[in-house]
Structure formats: C-alpha cells, structure tokens
C-alpha cells in the first residue's frame, strides 16, 4: 500500500518539518511512502491514500491544503485553530471572498459579518485576537476522509466543528536514543524556554516570574532560544536572561540538554502539541507548562501545570522556586519524562499507529462494503427484508465490531 505524504520538510524551520523528518523513516518501515513536493504544476504522486500535515503557517501549508482540496485524504490536524492559515491562503493572497465564504461556512452569518468587519478594519484581525473562538478547522475537515490528532482536546474540537468521520489519536513521537552533550551554559538552576516566540509563549509573564526566582536564587539563569515571530513582542530581557535567536538543530539539543527545567507556556492555545515539550520529554527534562489544551493532558508526573489566570506569574515563580530547591523532585520528573517518551510516545509505536490509521482509511470502506454485501445477500436469500428486526440485529452486531455502515 502506498501513501502520498504531504508535509513541510527540513530545511523549512517549521516544527512540523522536524516532526516529519523524525516520523518518515519509521513510517517507511510499515508502508510505502512517496513524499509529495510543492509546485502548482507538479503531478500528485500515485498512491492509495494521501496524508496531509496541516499547521498554521500559510507558507509551509498553503500548497498542502490546495492539494487536499483536489484530492481528499487523511488530515493530520497539528493545530485545531487554523484561522491564521485560512486567512493566509485567502486574504493575504487577495482572496477576500474566500475568507468571507470560509467564515460563513464555519460560523454562519455571524461569521461572515465579522469577516466583513475585519476587512473594513472595524475590528482587529480575528486570527490574532480570537482564533480559538473562530478556529476554521472545518475548512480542512470537510475534505478529510479521516483525521489524525495528537490529543483529546483536538479530537473534541474536531467533533465540535461537525466532523463525523474517523478520527485516530496518534501521540506525537519522541526522539529516540538521544545522547546529547550539554552545552556549556552557566546557571543554577538553568531554566530553558525554546521555540518560535510569539504572543502565546507568554514571555512577559515568564520574565516577571523569573525576576522573582532570581531574587532568591541569584545564580539562576533563564535561557530563551528561538526566533521572535514577526510582529510579536520581544520584551527586553531582565538580568540573568540569556537570549539566543534561531539555532541549528544540534545547538538546540545541546542547549536543552544543559537545562535543569524547561518551561513551555502557551495561551491562547490553537489546540497544538509542542515540539519543544516532546524534545524535553525525550531528553528527560522536568517541564513547566500552561494548564491549557494538550498541555493539560500531560501526566502530572512529568509536568507542573500553571493555570492561565491573574495568579499566573505568582504560581509560575513559586513552581520554579520549588523545582530549584528540590533536586529529588526534578530527578523523579526526569525519570517519568523518559518513561513517557519511551512508552506512550515511542517512535515505533507512533509509526505503527499511523500505519494502522492509513491502512484503515485506504481500504476500510471496501472491506465494510464487502462484508455488508455478503451479509445482505445471505439475509435476502432466506427472505429477510431490510427493515425486519432480524436484519436490524444483524446490522447492530456488525456495528458493534466496527463493520457497520
């Protein structure tokens, strides 16, 4: 069975590119994969099923959504709120009508009116202010023959968006067999924050909390690594903060390996998983995260979850202070993180789950139809009609084991 695989790939700096670079070799051990390349004139690869990785970056994912519209297939919904993406492939390309239609399709007449208000600059762009209220996931879900999600949060969101097709829950894979040499960075404790820095990463709150931590732990250091997203605030770092922009893969790993604790705050969430969190789990690093979306689903043993409310800074400072003081707790969290990475997020397990989902998506309908046809024929031969109680029971029993229509 052959799978056409649509995803950004390195050297694209997208987190989904790194995800695919990790997943592809493992997936190839289970199914025949042909990687699709961008290009309007490029022919779609011949395959039994197509797999589309959808994230919010219009540059990285616009061509993937265009391909999905031409040939429906399985969508990996890396983010539930894809308002950024939809705006990027409509409005940003001069297609205002496309944006209006998308808003109306997903959110009715109110959606269309709000979209008009955005176009007239009467309200700020919804993709910046309220993407979680107007996620627009329906814009890709309506072409999906199946959906892969990484969290229950995303699964519930897809159902709320009206998607009634098959959904497979496949965890984000961890990176196996890491033996990273920690970079030489001072700091006791050394706290890390990694990834694209946008408003949702809550840098001001993190800086405010770190100031309090440093008051008690003068040798503490906060390492902030990643490119600031265009337009996102990149506040001046307080004392004790080491700031690095985009770094190459190797440097990223060694910097993270040097950290005592990794902080990954997020609010609002787009329903995404975090590559940074998965890297930290893979390295066995204690985590501090926001108590939202997928992050809330992390086991308590591996992550301290900080509520996003008026006490956020205080709670974050207290958490970091406690972790700085409690080496045993950090060790226990590190061990739990490694265990979680090696079990739930094991790369081979994830590849197997993908293979199962793709195989079911590609041939499942044919199988169900063949079974239904044989059952219907047998029923008809003994005089049962479609609405007879016996026929209904036959259908019920088949549905119980996943063979119903």
């Amino acid at each position: 069975m052959r799978v056409a695989y649509y995803s950004p790939l390195p050297p694209s700096p997208s987190g989904i590119a790194a995800y695919s670079a990790l997943l592809l070799p493992a997936l190839r051990r289970h199914v025949d994969v042909v990687v699709a390349r961008p290009g309007r004139l490029r022919r779609a690869p011949k395959a039994d099923i197509s797999l589309y990785h959808v994230g919010n970056d219009p540059e990285a994912h616009g061509w993937i959504v265009a391909s999905l519209r031409r040939r429906p297939g399985v969508v990996v919904l890396h983010e539930l709120a894809i308002h950024h993406l939809v705006a990027g492939i409509t409005l940003a390309r001069g297609d205002a009508a496309g944006y209006l239609d998308a808003m109306e399709r997903c959110h009715g007449l109110v959606g269309r009116l709000l979209a008009y208000a955005v176009l007239d600059n009467r309200i700020p762009p919804l993709w910046e202010t309220r993407p979680h209220d107007f996620p627009l996931a329906g814009e890709v879900l309506r072409y999906a023959t199946g959906v892969v999600v990484h969290s229950r949060y995303a699964e519930e969101g897809a159902r709320q968006a009206g998607y009634d097709g098959p959904i497979w829950h496949v965890p984000h894979p961890a990176w196996p067999d890491l033996e990273e040499e920690p970079a030489s960075v001072d700091g006791s404790p050394l706290i890390g924050c990694f990834g694209h820095l946008n408003e949702a990463k809550r840098l001001p709150q993190l800086y405010a909390a770190f100031k309090r931590v440093r008051a008690r732990w003068p040798k503490a250091r906060l390492l902030v690594v990643g490119r600031a997203s265009p337009g996102a605030a990149d506040p001046p770092p307080p004392p004790g903060v080491a700031r690095e922009g985009y770094v190459e893969e190797g440097r990223l790993w060694s910097l993270m390996a040097a950290c005592d604790v990794v902080v990954s705050l997020r609010a609002p969430t787009m329903g995404e998983t975090s590559g940074t969190v998965m890297r930290a789990l893979s390295l066995g690093k204690p985590l501090v995260v926001s108590d939202v979306g997928w992050f809330s689903e992390l086991p308590d043993e591996v992550a301290v979850k900080v509520p996003v409310d008026e006490h956020e800074v205080e709670a974050l400072a207290l958490t970091l202070d406690q972790l700085a003081a409690d080496g045993r707790r950090r060790e226990a969290m590190a061990a739990a993180a490694r265990r979680l990475a090696e079990t739930e997020h094991d790369l081979e397990r994830v590849a197997q789950l993908y293979a199962a989902a793709l195989e079911e998506a590609a041939g499942g309908r044919l199988v169900r139809e063949a079974v239904a046809s044989e059952l219907a024929q047998a029923a008809a031969e003994i005089g049962l009609r479609p609405h007879d109680p016996e026929t209904r029971e036959l259908g019920e029993r088949a549905r119980e084991v996943g063979l119903g229509g």
Binding site: M1, D48, E359, E360, G363, V367, A370, R397, E400, G402
Partner: protein
C-alpha cells in the same frame, strides 16, 4: 454450572485445539458440571470471509439453551471469542496469527493491497473489541500472552493447559525420534527430515495429518530417507502413548509456536524434547540441558542434538525425568478452579 466451551471447527482438520477443547469438556463434566462443546465451522478465506465467519459467532445467542441459562462460556481461539455473553471467559490458544506476527511472512495471508491491509486491521479491531469484553483473559503460554499484549494492549493471565489424558509411561529409549502434530508448514517437520538426511544413523516417526503431508513425504523420498522415516498419519490414543513410551526423544520445533501440548506429553512419558531457539511457546518449558535440548533451527544442529541423545541415553533419561516433574504440576483440577473463579 452450565458451561459452553467454544471452538471454531475447521471441517476435517484435527489438532491440539480440538483435543484441548474436548478434554476441557470431559474434565468439566468429571467435576460435576454440565458442559458442552459448541462449534461453528470456520473458513478464513478468501478476502472478507474471515470477518463474515467471525460475525457468525457474534450472532450466536448462547445466553441460554432450551430454556435454561448457560452460565459461563469459555472461548478458546479466534473467532470464538467474538461471541456475546454476560460471563465470557477466554482461555486463549491463539489469535488469527495471519493478522499479526505471521503477516508479511510466507505463512501470511494478506497482500499489500489497500483492501487486504484494511482487512487485516479490521481483524485486529475485532480482537480488541471482543477480547476486551471478556470477564477474564487467560493465555496458554507467556508467548501467547505477550503477543496479545503487543497487539491489543490487553493483559492475560498465563495458564498452560494440561495435556490430554493418555496412558503415559516410559518403556525404553528406542532408536527413533518422535514428531507429533498437524502436518503444516508452521510445524516445520521438514527440518527434522533434513536432519535425518544429515545423520544416517537417525530414525523418525512422524505422526499426524495435514496439508503438508504430501510435500513432506516427497521430501523424504528425495532425500533418500527410505525406511528411516515413517508417516503413520493420525494415530489412536493407545498407539500414541506407546510411541511416546518407546521413542528416544520428541522433536517439537514449530516457528514461534503458541504453546503446544506435545512437550508436556513427552515429559509425562519421561522423554526429553528437542526444539529450536525460535520455537516460541515450547521454550517456556524446554530448557537446554535441563528438560531437553534447544538448538539452532538448522538441520546439522538438530542432527547433532538428536545424535547426542542417542549416545547419552542416561542423560536423556534425566532430562525427561526433570520435564516430568514440571508436567505433573499441571492438573486439570487446578486449571478449572481458576477458570471458574471468573
């Protein structure tokens, strides 16, 4: 208690599963229960037939019979555990192995087509649904339990089943190696024949019937084994007990076998078992130089192992006696007690 033992029936085929299920019914009756064997024919090909045949079990109403309740059902192997019953216990001999570890091997069934791949996944889904309904899950070996956990995430308690009651005894350590079992490729009797070809002093008796018989007889002819190998077919209980009693050792080395009663039967006859490192379930009781010999799955290695036993009869006897102690610990009384705790 009124108990139904469930066994899919492959018409005209008979092997360990049939003996196990029939013996279980007999033993339940011996302990005062009203037990019966319930079978439905099973054909697993072509295509989706494996699923429609499984659905037959799903449709079977075994909550009562003739107006009286059936209080417990004991399912044994795919697809009998698809049955619906408020008190379903599974004593798992094996799943539909073609959908699991035999996939993409010469013993597999599903092609690389999208439809076949999905069909295989549907079998797996059926297993997850129906096995998770069981009140209690037992597996006949650690190998079967491990496969189950790998494939479905379900955990089973390991409970080997005792062998069929025969007049087990040890009369002598004769000059032949005995092979017992259904003659199909997975049982790997050809390895024994190739070993015979490599060791002219060895003899073998191959009991059993099956689709591989012609090929094996042809192989024996081509290797010039002549009178050194006999294929008596399926033998009666008395003859089987007599063969066990007189053989030098018992060969049992299917590839990644589920469990296999044969080693236990050999042990009860005081005979050592010769198996291979990749035999799966049998390795749980056949320990090298403790209860038998475990060799590489190559004819020369097997020939050497058999020859060693022939030259060291006292050691063969000691290995068989060590196995006997293990086999005697397995009793139907204890197994049924656990089964009925469910």
């Amino acid at each position: 208690m009124r108990i139904a033992v469930l066994l899919p029936q492959v018409p005209f085929a008979r092997g360990g599963a049939e003996i196990f299920a029939e013996t279980l019914v007999t033993q339940l009756r011996a302990q005062g229960h009203e037990a019966d064997l319930v079978t439905i024919p099973f054909k697993w090909y072509p295509g989706e037939r494996v699923l429609t045949q499984a659905l037959l079990w799903r449709l079977a109403d075994l909550t009562e019979a003739d107006g009286r309740p059936i209080e417990l059902v004991v399912a044994t192997k795919f697809p009998s555990y698809c049955v619906r019953h408020p008190r379903k216990v599974v004593w798992l001999l094996h799943q539909f192995r073609q959908a699991y570890e035999l996939d993409r091997t010469p013993l597999g069934q599903f092609s690389e087509s999208a439809r076949d791949r999905a069909l295989r996944r549907q079998v797996q889904r059926l297993d997850r649904t129906c096995l998770s309904e069981a009140r209690r899950l037992f597996a006949t070996s650690r190998n079967v339990a491990a496969r189950l956990e790998r494939s479905t995430g379900l955990q089973a308690e390991v409970m080997p089943h005792p062998p069929q009651p025969l007049d087990y005894r040890c009369e002598e350590f004769g000059d032949f190696v005995l092979s017992v079992g259904r003659l199909d490729r997975a049982k790997r009797v050809d390895l024994l024949l190739e070993a015979l070809a490599a060791a002219p002093e060895l003899r073998a008796v191959v009991c059993g019937e099956g689709p591989d018989r012609k090929r094996l007889e042809e192989l024996a002819r081509r290797r010039g084994l002549g009178g050194r190998v006999a294929f008596p077919g399926r033998v009666g209980e008395e003859e089987l007990a007599s063969l066990y009693a007189r053989c030098l050792a018992v060969y049992y080395a299917p590839f990644d076998e589920d469990f296999g009663m044969v080693p236990y039967e050999a042990f009860l006859s005081g005979k050592p078992v010769v198996t291979t490192q990749d035999a799966g379930g049998p390795l749980e009781v056949v320990a090298h130089r403790r209860t038998g010999l475990v060799c590489e799955p190559r004819p020369e290695a097997l020939a050497r192992a058999c020859a060693w036993l022939r030259e060291h009869v006292e050691e063969a006897r000691a290995l068989g006696q060590a196995g006997q102690k293990i086999a005697q610990g397995l009793t139907w009384e204890r197994a049924i007690e656990r089964l009925l705790e469910s």
